[in-house]
């Protein structure tokens, strides 16, 4: 089923950025077609494991079953994957990809309407001028064509729209936003905060800024969204609508305008290009249900298919004018792939507060904003920096499923009130490097007829030095705070595991070194736009989704202007 209709905009993807774009563009009276690769799911109705009792979860919620090993060996490495969420992760067997030998990459994906906005970790931090202007103090990457002042009003808009809880801290490296009331720090975190901040002038422990409703505003309530109930089972879907997803907010609002059509189960294979008009004309789509190839046309194409998904499509969009992928005059398409480092830090035990506990399962950690290499080079062993999350919790049985303990002692440990355990983990900035890239294997097609993605990506000595520092600093902070049983750790997680993949179609001022301009518009094809993570020139250390959404909102208004002027 193709369509002769010419839409104003085709949005490829329905997740974090596709959702925001659909809301804004339709509210600006543009006719939009959203094309989603995965199946259709609906808010509430399709959260089939949401209210399952603990004892009804198959196999005690083990991730180690033969079925998972066979069908989802990569996806099961995600922190969010378990028996209750596995249906929101892709089937690896049916969706293979390749990696260069010795360079593993975990490509973690969803396959449904709403994409990863259904399963994200919801942590929402602004980038700061330190991040965006970092190129002024070192030579890693290129200058961002967008400055913090350009982004600030769009951050405001997105935070108010999606609802972000957080505390005002007045930190230059982590700008405040338009926050709902913060979640409480627990008694152990409050104790650590006091100790850290008295020992270190450069470090703060703050509550995580998270896209959960703590005190819904009127526009949230009008969407049927309600306050967070502290279940922390968010990746199963939340019928309260307590955390933002495109399923519970932006897509329903866009549909209400009457200007949005959505088609699912369709993999966009390429963006079509006209040599005559020198514009993108539409997309070629593989219908995963019928096996037919379909075509859809539009005046502008907005790519929101996730970092790797978008770049896979663009690289596959070859023509006489663009033999290496549409818009790829610079040759940078596919290059400068980044992800945050994950899996290094320290753990410890905080004694003295065992008579206290907490109530509820708070859906966010606390956070230690980046403190290295800001106004001066405080950590000469690496460039840029990292933030850390901190979790303080009473032990549960889940920490005792391995190890040699057994018998009455094991039961006593699990069933008795104990001390607070502290977990600290760094999120480090990965520097943009040309050699970290994806390419396509045109001789090996997947079930949708798309060339398989080949990853060639690894952390460098800079990221490794950062991970060493995360362990050392976290352990030292815990020691100075009086913690015991301190253990440093490094999981040596490969790129991709953090699910913050970005770059590969970066923005920049110079068309010779970048794919997009400061309006997320292709330098070479003026009606082609990209606003997902692939547009990022550098990664900073903050969780990036808020920035993707802010860039999408900004670009959406630009698209309206562009189409109005082009008419």
């Amino acid at each position: 089923m193709s369509s002769d209709k010419i839409y104003d905009v085709i949005i490829v993807g329905s997740g974090m950025t596709g959702g925001i774009a659909s809301k804004i563009l339709t509210e600006l009276n543009l006719n939009v077609l959203m094309i989603e690769r995965g199946r259709k799911i609906e808010h509430k109705k399709d959260y089939k494991t949401e209210n399952i009792a603990v004892w009804d979860i198959p196999f005690g919620n083990s991730k180690k079953t033969l079925e998972i090993q066979e069908q989802q060996p990569v996806q099961s490495r995600s922190y969010a994957f378990d028996q209750t969420t596995k249906h929101f992760f892709i089937n690896d067997k049916e969706n293979p990809y390749k990696t260069v030998e010795g360079k593993p990459f975990d490509w973690l994906r969803g396959d449904h309407l709403g994409g990863k906005s259904v399963t994200w970790h919801r942590q929402s931090y602004r980038l700061s001028p330190y991040d965006i202007d970092a190129i002024k103090t070192d030579e890693n990457g290129i200058e961002w064509p967008v400055k913090y002042a350009d982004l600030e009003p769009w951050y405001d808009m997105i935070e108010e729209y999606i609802g972000v809880s957080g505390s005002l801290e007045n930190l230059k490296q982590l700008p405040d936003g338009k926050f709902l009331k913060p979640f409480e720090l627990n008694v152990a975190e409050l104790a650590l905060k006091k100790k850290f901040e008295s020992q270190y002038s450069d470090r703060k422990l703050i509550i995580g800024r998270t896209a959960h409703l703590t005190a819904p505003r009127k526009h949230h309530e009008e969407l049927g969204r309600m306050p967070c109930q502290s279940r922390n089972e968010c990746q199963r879907g939340c019928s309260f609508g307590a955390y933002y997803s495109s399923l519970n907010s932006s897509i329903p609002e866009a549909l209400q305008t009457g200007h949005l059509e959505i088609i699912t189960d369709r993999a966009v294979r390429q963006v079509l290009y006209s040599d005559e008009t020198k514009l993108a004309t539409g997309v070629e789509v593989y219908n995963r249900k019928t096996g037919e190839v379909e075509h859809y046309r539009a005046r502008a194409i907005l790519m929101c298919a996730s970092t790797i998904g978008t770049t896979q499509i663009l690289l596959n969009s070859r023509s006489k004018r663009f033999p290496n992928g549409i818009g790829n005059d610079s040759g940078v398409l596919g290059h400068y792939l980044m992800d945050h480092t994950l899996g290094a830090g320290a753990t410890g035990v905080l004694k003295g507060y065992s008579e206290f506990t907490d109530k509820g399962r708070r859906p966010c950690p606390s956070y230690i904003p980046r403190f290295q290499n800001l106004d001066s080079r405080t950590h000469p062993q690496f460039e840029r920096g990292y933030a850390m999350i901190l979790e303080a919790f009473k032990e549960t049985w889940k920490r005792h499923t391995d190890g040699p303990s057994y018998g009455p002692k094991l039961k006593h440990t699990i069933e008795s009130n104990g001390d607070w355990h502290i977990f600290m983990q760094g999120f480090g900035e990965m520097l943009p490097r040309y050699k970290n890239h994806i390419s396509l294997d045109f001789a090996d097609l997947d079930a949708c007829g798309m060339p398989k993605v080949v990853f060639d990506c690894a952390y460098s000595d800079n990221e490794k030095a950062m991970q060493d520092s995360m362990q050392k600093e976290a352990a030292e902070m815990l020691m100075r705070a009086g913690c015991t049983d301190i253990v440093k750790y490094n999981d040596h997680a490969p790129p991709g595991r953090c699910i913050h993949e970005m770059g590969t179609a970066r923005m920049g001022l110079d068309p010779a070194t970048s794919f997009l301009n400061g309006n997320n518009q292709s330098h070479a094809v003026s009606n082609l736009f990209v606003t997902d993570g692939s547009c990022m020139p550098s990664s900073a250390s903050q969780n990036p989704s808020l920035t993707y959404m802010a860039l999408t909102a900004r670009a959406s208004f630009f698209i309206k202007k562009y189409l109005t002027e082009a008419a």
Binding site: V54, L66, K98, P104, L190, C228, T357, G360
Partner: protein, 176 residues
Amino acid sequence: VSLNAVDAARERPLWLGNYQKYMNRRPFIFSMAMLVTLPTLAKSNQTPSESAQHNVGILMDLIIPKTNTPSATGISLHKNYLAYVQAHIADVKAFDAACAGLVARLPLAKSKSEFVNDWAHGKLGNPELFAFFKDMTTRLYYSSEYATTKILAWLPVPGPYVGKLRFNTINRVWAS
């Protein structure tokens, strides 16, 4: 040169631990176990599955014995072991045989604690089986309805998060 990343993940399963290694040695384990198990089975009136369930129960109770709360078999955990094992291990017969072999060696130990210590530390030949067994037993016990609601405290919908609460107002550890 490129590898299929999914196949590579299967070859190097991070979370699978060493179960696969255990399975690769299964012919050896099986044959050793049968040497000590067959006489026991021959004397028993139990069907093999009942016998296997019995053996698993004995081993489960070493991990989760009766204290002031029930043992693993006290809440009939052993009756549900088969589905769990089938979901995790391709050759259930080899697993059952290995368990039978362990149970047969139990009377030879000076004490139960010495036996479990030896098992946990690989002195009985297959520490991977202990790791699997402990994970299974602990997981199934503390996610059971009994443990979640009678031993621990489960709140399906907690409401607003409270960061400081005196433990003696609950007196039970939260279930998660």
